[in-house]
């Protein structure tokens, strides 16, 4: 029995959920277990060495001896690594709890060490799961793990101090593109940041899209068109600067295709906020990342190597992997009417643009009840009769109905360079997460990262070529209950691990890790009505006045409107707020 089986056996009995998670954990390519000089395994994550490459055992012992630990006090260690620094404490019979940020690292530890005493003398927690940690325990940090995840370390320290552990309250401006795939992502990001308790706002450029389109038809002279487009982009940039000056964000979170260029990013940066850019595109297809990545504080990617190497060669050290996610407020199971099912449903559906590989692949599926939704398809092709709405763009609300109404949702990642499946495809597209969140059954082409997010054939079904696709379509069309089971599993996983709320919480931790101390540690503001009540004595007439005011009242004008609607004679307490509101309006008009 190897270490993994031994550890897993006990863990399964004691903490079955954790055992299941670790069993399903995929080890990313940048997690390398290498032999040290003494022959014992050592671990390297990215470029961070988690243990000595010479003698990790001696290093672990030396670390334990260096800790000033009182007898019998429970210990919480941040960072498991391969456990060299934990084992001496377990051997000494100490109560030890370990919080390991990465499931992959924990899995590797369980593959390379006998950690069975840990389950008896304490326990292991993953990521932000601090449940059951002994209050007031002594916190010890494994230095390389802390270097990798300072944000999470701070969160754990706050938790052990009895503080809420919630991250600081931030003002975040999310900037999306004029149009395109990252526009709905931007909207979801703004919603998720708000749901995480921050003050988030979306700078929505979509209203300017029409103007941008009109410019394309103004003149046949290409250079004039380019100049006009450039001037529009400059104007949009000025809007962003103005918004930043007014909103004063701590963080500007930019999505791919946002209308920004290096000079504008430098101007934004000089206004004070931290700049993060989420490049939710394939770096091989869209090379503009080379201009932008060096100008922002954090550059998030949905791909790792060889993108990371190219970024490193370009200069920046501030990049991090941040995969896509789903917005469960939009992508959700729906109860559709028969009419909607007829309108949007099919045995097999595909939603997406007509990329080359899809145009080549789909003619092999035309004997099925197949519908293709989305733009950039050639209607004058064999696929023409299958293309819905003459190739119109599909809104999010339509997409979620199609996902719910279709028995099988085909998900073929785009590629301009391949005839069918991209054998080197790494990142997972948003549709994978959207379909999972919608509780829809999907048949997806294989991607290098896919198993990190969903368990193949358990949570999503895979096809590797046309033959397999056809076979599986035929199989699942006749095994509907299996589709339902897998879709449920996929949704459960997605809601747990792949919502924008989860993802952006990770993003903020990554920002804290990459730019330590740069984000303010501000407490969330008290609700205005609570602040008001706190400021007046319990017997003050204002307290009675505020009693029936609904809690969603946030600003002064809302409060005054609410008071005015009461249809009762104006009281002196009400007059205070009305007076203040009039004064505020005068200030806004520059009257005082």
């Amino acid at each position: 029995m190897n270490y993994w089986e031994k550890n897993y056996e006990i863990l399964k009995q004691q903490v079955p959920d954790l055992a299941e998670t670790l069993a399903k954990t995929h080890i990313p390519a940048d997690h390398q277990v290498l032999p040290s000089k003494t022959g014992l395994p050592s671990l390297k994550v990215g470029r961070q060495q988690l243990h000595s490459a010479y003698d990790p055992l001696a290093e672990g012992l030396a670390w334990v001896q260096a800790q000033d630990i009182e007898e019998a006090e429970p210990l919480v260690i941040f960072g498991l690594g391969l456990g060299y620094h934990v084992l001496p404490l377990l051997e000494a019979g100490r109560e030890v709890w370990v919080v390991e940020p990465s499931a992959a690292v924990a899995r590797l530890a369980l593959e390379h060490q006998d950690l069975t005493p840990l389950w008896a003398q304490g326990g292991l927690r993953l990521g932000r799961d601090f449940q059951g940690l002994p209050p007031g325990a002594r916190l010890l940090a494994h230095p390389p793990s802390r270097r990798l995840h300072p944000g999470l370390y701070q969160r754990l320290a706050a938790h052990l101090r009895g503080e809420s552990g919630a991250g600081a309250y931030l003002r975040i401006l999310v900037v999306g593109p004029l149009y395109g795939g990252s526009h709905p992502i931007a909207r979801s990001c703004a919603r998720a940041f708000s749901a995480l308790g921050h003050q988030a706002e979306l700078l929505d450029y979509a209203p300017f899209y029409q103007g941008y389109q009109i410019l394309q038809d103004v003149t046949a002279d290409k250079s004039t068109e380019n100049r006009l487009t450039q001037e529009l982009l400059t104007f949009l940039g000025e809007i962003l600067v103005a918004r930043v000056r007014d909103f004063r964000p701590d963080l500007v979170f930019l999505l791919a295709q946002a209308p920004v260029e290096p000079r504008l990013l430098r101007r934004l940066s000089s206004e004070g906020p931290l700049l993060a850019y989420w490049f939710v595109e394939a770096f091989q297809v869209f090379p503009y990342w080379r201009d932008l990545a060096p100008e922002v504080d954090v550059f998030f990617t949905i791909q790792r190597e060889p993108f990371f190497r190219e970024l490193s060669e370009l200069g920046p050290k501030n990049f991090a992997f941040l995969p896509l996610a789903a917005d469960p407020e939009v992508y959700r199971p729906l109860n559709l009417t028969p009419e909607e099912i007829r309108q949007f449903g099919a045995a097999v559906s595909f939603v997406g643009a007509g990329y080359r590989n899809r145009r080549e692949f789909f003619p092999g599926l035309l004997d099925f009840d197949f519908r293709i939704w989305g733009s950039d398809w050639n209607l004058n092709s064999p696929l023409g009769p299958f293309i819905q709405n003459h190739g119109a763009r599909v809104s999010e609300e339509e997409a979620v109905k199609i996902f719910n109404a279709s028995r099988i949702n085909l998900n073929l990642h785009s590629s301009p360079y391949h005839l069918a499946i991209n054998p080197e495809g790494d990142y997972v597209n948003p549709r994978t997460f959207d379909l999972a969140a919608a509780g829809a059954f999907q048949l997806v082409d294989p991607r290098a990262q896919l198993s990190e997010f969903f368990q193949p054939e358990e949570e999503v079904a895979l096809f590797h070529d046309l033959t397999e696709a056809r076979d599986k379509i035929a199989f699942y069309l006749s095994h509907g209950e299996e589709c339902i089971r897998m879709a449920r599993q996929g949704r459960k996983r997605c809601l747990r691990d792949h919502t924008y709320n989860v993802r952006l919480e990770q993003a903020l931790d990554l920002i804290a890790d990459l730019c330590p101390g740069k984000l303010p540690q501000r407490s969330p503001p008290e609700k205005p009505l609570e602040q008001l009540r706190r400021g007046f004595p319990a017997d003050h007439p204002v307290q009675a006045m505020l009693q029936p005011v609904p809690p969603e009242v946030e600003d002064l004008s809302q409060l005054v409107d609410t008071l005015r609607e009461r249809d009762e004679p104006l009281t002196e307490s009400e007059a205070i707020f009305w007076l203040l509101h009039e004064f505020q309006q005068g200030l806004e008009r520059g009257r005082f």
């Binding site: 205070i576 009305w578 200030l587």
Partner: protein, 588 residues
């Protein structure tokens, strides 16, 4: 008795409050008077005499809290605390001079038993009391027809009467000494006139160009030896420098941004003359009895805010568009006032001779030129000092002056002495009439106004009589309400047809606004009063119109076709004599 006076306005408005404070003392000698002012103008307010307690409204602190994200609850705490600290007991009487909701709600929030001026009603509507306060509010909307100065309106809307004593200041001796210390080393000879120049104003369009002010100063120096002191804020320094660089250095002292309100007042007191736009310092000068030569440009209107006291000279552009109603891109009024006229009238003021009306000079045709005065009741007035035929504009202003007082004050208004004074003005300050005074259409509109108001009053009475029967006669009630709606619509039409009467029409609608939120039958009962007042206004106006026509020797127009033909022939023959005020140069 605790009396609270609220004036949350700027420098000039504060100085113009001094007659209220003086008359208040006289009416309530044993009272304790608190004056609330904006904290930003506290220093100016300290110069106001007869105040027992000066209370700064914490605008800076409130603005600081409101400007913070989510800072309004903190601002509310500060405001509530300020109110609780400063008004542990409601004042017995509040006089609110601030013509906006902030002043009105503050008056209400003190819990005072009686509020005069603008206030708010428990129904959250604006409320004005006494009637003069309603008048003050409506003329801020229908400015063309107002004959009363703000100082007098302050008095009347707070239930006080004018005494014609002008403005006053409690100037600290230390400021006067400091000014003497400054002037001493300048060794200015006694024959040199000390002249202040004030090129700034609250709005850029009210600023006469500094180059033209410099030209006027140079012309004045050619007439007599002068030394110029240039005043203003730090932000107005470029205006001062633009003047100074055109004048001999030895004849100029730049004081922009270097004077506190007290020092400014002390300097102004030492001057022989101040040449100024319509500004707060103009009122300060008037308060320390320094003659002013005031230029009223753009939206500034002499009848509203002219310098108070006797013997000040005011120049206004003689343009159809003055005072302007909307932002103007051309500012022709800046050109209408000429340096030659400013220097001539400045020299006349410095001569200290009585200011009697003089004959027209061709180069003055682009200006209206007034001297400040008071009428027999102590109200301020601005009399033309260049002899010209009575204009339609002036005629209706004089008419309004006689009518409003009688309506708003009722029998307390002593009409005869005013009538005599007005007769003297019309005979002594104007040439015989040549312009169409709009008497025919004015008379028609006044008759219509009286008739409509009478109708409204009658319908309102009938609706009130339906009390208790409205369920039984819903159709009749509806008909009556519809009838009132038509009357109100017609009243508005009259206001538009003859703008000189717009204030009278507005006066009814202000009365109606005061009653908003009331049920229809009690409302109808309440509206009888406003309709009756407008009916009386129209009736009195017709009476006075007849009297003024008699004084001017005018027979009824429009009755005799032969006379009309003759009038038209005269117009054609004397076209030059009949040109509008700004010939060939409509403003827009």
């Amino acid at each position: 008795m605790e009396i609270l006076v609220i004036n949350l306005m700027r420098l000039g408005d504060l100085v113009q409050t001094t007659p209220v404070l003086r008359r208040l003392r006289s009416a309530y000698p044993t009272s304790k008077v608190t004056l609330v002012v904006m904290d930003l103008f506290l220093e100016t307010a300290r110069l106001l005499p007869r105040v027992d307690r000066l209370l700064p409204f914490p605008s800076v602190s409130l603005a600081a809290a409101l400007n913070q994200d989510g800072g309004w609850p903190e601002a509310a705490h500060r405001l509530a605390e300020w109110l609780a600290q400063n008004f542990p007991r409601p004042p017995d009487l509040v006089l609110n001079l601030t013509p906006n909701r902030v002043g009105a709600i503050l008056a209400y929030a003190t819990g005072a038993a009686e509020i005069r001026g603008m206030a708010v009603h428990p129904t959250w509507e604006l409320n004005t009391s006494p009637d003069w306060a309603s008048y003050a509010l409506i003329v801020s909307r229908s400015r063309q027809a107002n004959p009363f100065n703000l100082v007098d309106l302050f008095l009347r809307e707070t239930g006080l009467t004018p005494d014609g004593q002008g403005l006053e200041l409690a100037l600290p001796q230390s400021a006067e000494r400091e000014v003497e210390d400054f002037l001493g080393p300048l060794n200015l000879p006694a024959n040199k006139a000390l002249v202040g120049l004030l090129p700034g104003a609250s709005q850029p369009e009210r600023r006469w160009p500094p180059e033209r002010l410099a030209q006027a100063a140079i012309r004045l120096m050619a007439k007599r030896p002068c030394h110029f002191f240039i005043f203003g804020s730090t932000g107005e320094a470029p205006l001062g420098e633009a003047i100074a660089q055109r004048l001999p250095a030895a004849a100029t002292t730049l004081l922009l941004g270097r004077t506190s309100p007290a020092m400014l007042a002390a300097y102004l007191k030492r001057l022989d003359l101040l040449i100024t736009n319509d500004t707060g310092p103009m009122h300060l000068a008037a308060a320390v009895a320094t003659p002013t030569m005031a230029l009223f440009l753009a939206s500034a209107r002499v009848q509203d805010t002219g310098p108070v006291g006797t013997g000040h000279i005011i120049l206004e552009p003689r343009l159809d568009c003055h005072p302007c109603l909307a932002p103007c891109p051309r500012l022709r009024c800046h050109q209408a006032i000429t340096p030659a006229a400013v220097s001539w009238w400045a020299d006349t003021l410095l001569n200290l001779e009585p200011l009697a009306p003089v004959a027209e000079v061709d180069s003055w045709r682009t200006m209206r030129i007034y001297v400040s005065a008071t009428d027999p009741q102590g109200y301020h007035a601005y009399l033309p000092v260049v002899l010209r035929p009575l204009s339609r504009r002036d005629f209706w202003l004089w008419l309004q002056r006689t009518v409003w007082g009688q309506v708003l004050d009722g029998s307390a208004f002593p009409a005869p002495p005013l009538q005599q004074w007005l007769e003297n003005i019309l005979r002594g300050h104007y040439l015989p009439r040549r312009e169409d005074l709009g008497l025919g259409s004015g008379q028609t509109c006044l008759s219509e106004l009286g008739h409509l108001a009478g109708q409204g009053e009658e319908i309102a009475r009938e609706i009130a009589n339906l009390a208790g029967y409205s369920q039984e006669y819903p159709a009749r009630l509806w008909q009556k309400i519809e009838g009132l709606r038509v009357v109100d619509q017609e009243l508005r039409r009259v206001g538009v047809a003859f703008p000189e009467l717009a204030a009278m029409v507005e006066f009814y609608f202000q009365g109606q606004r005061d009653k908003q939120g009331t049920e229809i039958i009690p409302l109808a009962r309440e509206l009888q009063g406003p309709y009756a007042r407008v009916r009386r206004l129209a009736g009195l106006a017709l009476e006075h119109l007849a009297e003024l026509k008699k004084i001017l020797g005018i027979a009824d127009e429009g009755d005799d076709p032969a006379k009309m033909v003759r009038a038209v022939q005269t117009i054609v023959a004397n076209y030059e004599a009949f040109q509008p005020e700004s010939k060939g140069a409509p403003c827009k």
